[in-house]
């Protein structure tokens, strides 16, 4: 699947296209398919996302998994500060990213 990510303009938070808007949780990401470029263009023009781009991902039993490690870390947060990540209560979160 092809999913869309970017940053919230004001906060800088990493966000994911969920079909209607932008979520902080990668597991909300939906397949943008052939509409990726059009969605990004419209959303950036409307200031709803900043620095957006499309990436490859797969949907697994655990959730949406970006294909590249960089985007998996982007989705989680720093593996060395899980207390600051989106999975602060999950001590195995970093190992699943790798």
């Amino acid at each position: 699947m092809k999913i869309l990510t970017g940053n919230d303009l004001a906060s800088g938070d990493v966000v994911w296209w969920d079909g209607k808007g932008w979520s902080r949780d990668v597991n909300d990401a939906v397949d943008a398919g052939d509409s990726a470029d059009a969605i990004l263009a419209a959303e950036e023009a409307a200031q709803r996302v900043n620095a957006g781009y499309a990436i490859a991902a797969t949907k697994t039993a655990e959730g949406v998994r970006p294909a590249h490690i960089k985007d998996r870390i982007r989705a989680l947060g720093p593996t060395v500060r899980l207390d600051l990540s989106l999975r602060p209560g999950d001590p195995d979160a970093a190992s699943r990213v790798i």
Binding site: S11, G12, E44, Q47, K70, I73, V80
Partner: protein, 544 residues
């Protein structure tokens, strides 16, 4: 310490208000990200892997307690309770909100700080010896010269759009503690045969994709002509530096391609022209600047020596203090490298504590080192024990300066959008593997540096042992390098062999230390043994 005059303050304040307006226009949608990006970068605001990152300039790494305290307060108020001290003697905050950035810069301006020229293709923060003004082996304090260069390079219109970023380091001792020859321009303050103070210019060094050691371009420039010579060096680079290829745009490539002799010829020609313009700073202006760095209040008549009866304290004092030019004092290095910790990170509370300790014990001065530690430069030897107790209680008394646990590591793929691999987990694993203080001291000086990509922010080329993280078909892979040095014996580390995964590289390093311990001669450091016996015994042990 230098204090802003009305011009410095007015320039910084004006920039804050200018940026406040730029952010407001961006938030209102009046300018696009493409238009805004170069404006925010000129104010040190990057968009990194997880959020905006703000890099704050710390000129030549020097701070007072008030400034340091504010850095801690910013970490609490605007970030997530910590800051990251960098290999350019700066501090970075990893979780900044765009809407807060102008007010952070306004707060910084109240203590004579800013984030100007911490990004972009301009002259970056001038770095220097972290023991400047305290070092027993320095000719003079290099910071007045660094400050002169800071003033010259700040908002210099001709050098605002260079082919690439430009980094300058200034030192004034034969012991290079600033990786001087690995900068675009390295300046050593020296004395000539006539006893006059001047500057030796090394030009064209750097790490990154194409590491090079800077050759000497001029052996001696009279002190007050230093700025004009730097101007000539930059002008030739600005004219002929490669703008067609980002990867060949640094000055090191120009100096290498046309040769040091031809580069020197062109610089001398330009320098001769600049001298006709009479742009050199007046002696009185230099003396005005230098007066800020004069004796910070050191007491005379103190005796060397202190009570060493606490063995843990004695170990720390031996490892983490350096000789001071004034009897009865030491320069203290606070390690930000606890075993298993994140190199260079400090919590807001730790930052504020270091500010308090600087005010109490170090004549209100601190330094950030390019090795991601903090220095209290002027500590009375009689205060060392009390200082150590307070550092120890705060987890800041790790006795590992220049040992294998004192690792430089870039933020890597945990934070950086340019990185290919994570650096910090490796540093944590290595420092945990070698956590035993006795084992570290047995190994002796061993500088280990880790970069998460070829840009080399972690100085892996300059490590006795260097590690470079690469992306190998979507997985992290780590190349092992040996033989680098950023000290006066500058050398570039070379790749030893095929790369490893995260666990494999830690094992390989342990194997290398075993080879060293077996082969070393009396008094040899790891780098000395490596240079003497070469890579072969290490390769054989690591790869079989």
């Amino acid at each position: 310490m230098y204090q802003y005059d009305e011009y410095d303050q007015a320039m910084v304040d004006a920039r804050v208000e200018e940026f406040r307006g730029q952010v407001a226009r961006r938030m209102a949608g009046e300018i696009t990200e493409d238009q805004f990006k170069p404006l925010r970068l000129k104010n040190g605001l990057y968009l990194q892997l997880h959020a905006y990152m703000l890099r704050v300039a710390i000129p030549y790494g020097t701070l007072n307690g008030r400034q340091m305290r504010l850095l801690g307060d910013i970490a609490d108020k605007y970030d997530r309770g910590y800051g990251h001290f960098t290999t350019r003697q700066n501090i970075q905050y990893n979780w900044i909100k765009l809407e807060d950035a102008p007010q952070i810069l306004a707060d910084l301006a109240t203590v004579e700080m800013h984030a100007i020229q911490t990004s972009g293709n301009c002259i970056r923060n001038i770095s220097s010896d972290h023991f400047a003004g305290a070092a027993a082996d320095e000719l003079v304090d290099p910071r007045p010269y660094a400050e002169l260069l800071r003033q010259w390079s700040s908002f210099h219109p001709e050098f605002d759009y260079l082919p690439r970023k430009f980094k300058i380091a200034v030192i004034a001792s034969d012991t290079d503690r600033a990786a001087m020859r690995l900068h675009d321009i390295g300046i050593q303050i020296v004395k000539n045969d006539a006893g006059e103070i001047g500057a030796r210019f090394y030009v064209g060094g750097g790490m990154g994709r194409t590491p090079m050691i800077a050759p000497v371009i001029r052996d001696f420039v009279p002190a007050l002509q230093m700025v004009s010579y730097a101007e000539a060096c930059l002008r030739v680079y600005n004219r002929y530096g490669r703008r067609d290829n980002k990867y060949k745009a640094r000055i090191k490539i120009l100096v290498h391609e046309i040769g040091a002799d031809e580069y020197r010829r062109q610089v001398e020609e330009e320098f001769a022209h600049i001298l006709t313009l009479g742009l050199e700073p007046p002696q009185a202006e230099f003396e005005r600047i230098a007066a800020f760095f004069a004796d910070p209040g050191l007491e005379s008549g103190l005796a060397d020596g202190y009570d060493r009866s606490d063995p843990d304290f004695a170990v720390w004092a031996d490892q983490n203090t350096a000789p001071h030019k004034q009897a009865g004092y030491k320069a203290v290095v606070i390690s930000l490298k606890p075993a298993g910790g994140i190199p260079g990170d400090a919590s807001a509370d730790q930052i504020r504590l270091m500010a308090e300790l600087a005010e109490a014990y170090s004549l209100d001065e601190l330094r950030v080192t390019h090795t991601q530690n903090i220095v209290l430069p002027h500590v009375k030897q009689s205060d060392l024990y009390a200082l150590w107790q307070k550092l120890d209680a705060a987890g800041l008394a790790t006795a590992n300066l220049d040992l294998i646990g004192d690792i430089i590591a870039c933020p890597g793929l945990d934070y950086c959008s340019l990185a290919n691999a994570r650096s910090i987990p490796l540093a944590q694993k290595i420092s945990a593997r070698f956590a035993s203080p006795e084992r570290q001291r047995t190994l002796g000086e061993l500088k280990l540096k880790i970069s998460g990509c070829i840009n080399a922010c972690g100085h892996h080329h300059a490590g006795h042992i260097g590690i470079l993280g690469v992306d190998k078909k979507g997985t992290e892979n780590y190349q092992l390098l040996f033989g680098g040095s950023e000290a006066a014996d500058t050398s570039l580390a070379q790749i030893v062999g095929p790369g490893f995964n995260e666990d494999g590289i830690v094992d390989a390093i342990e194997t290398a230390t075993e080879v060293y311990l077996k082969a070393r001669a009396e008094g040899e450091r790891f780098i000395d043994t490596y240079r003497r016996i070469g890579a072969a015994p290490f390769k054989e042990a690591i790869y079989g």
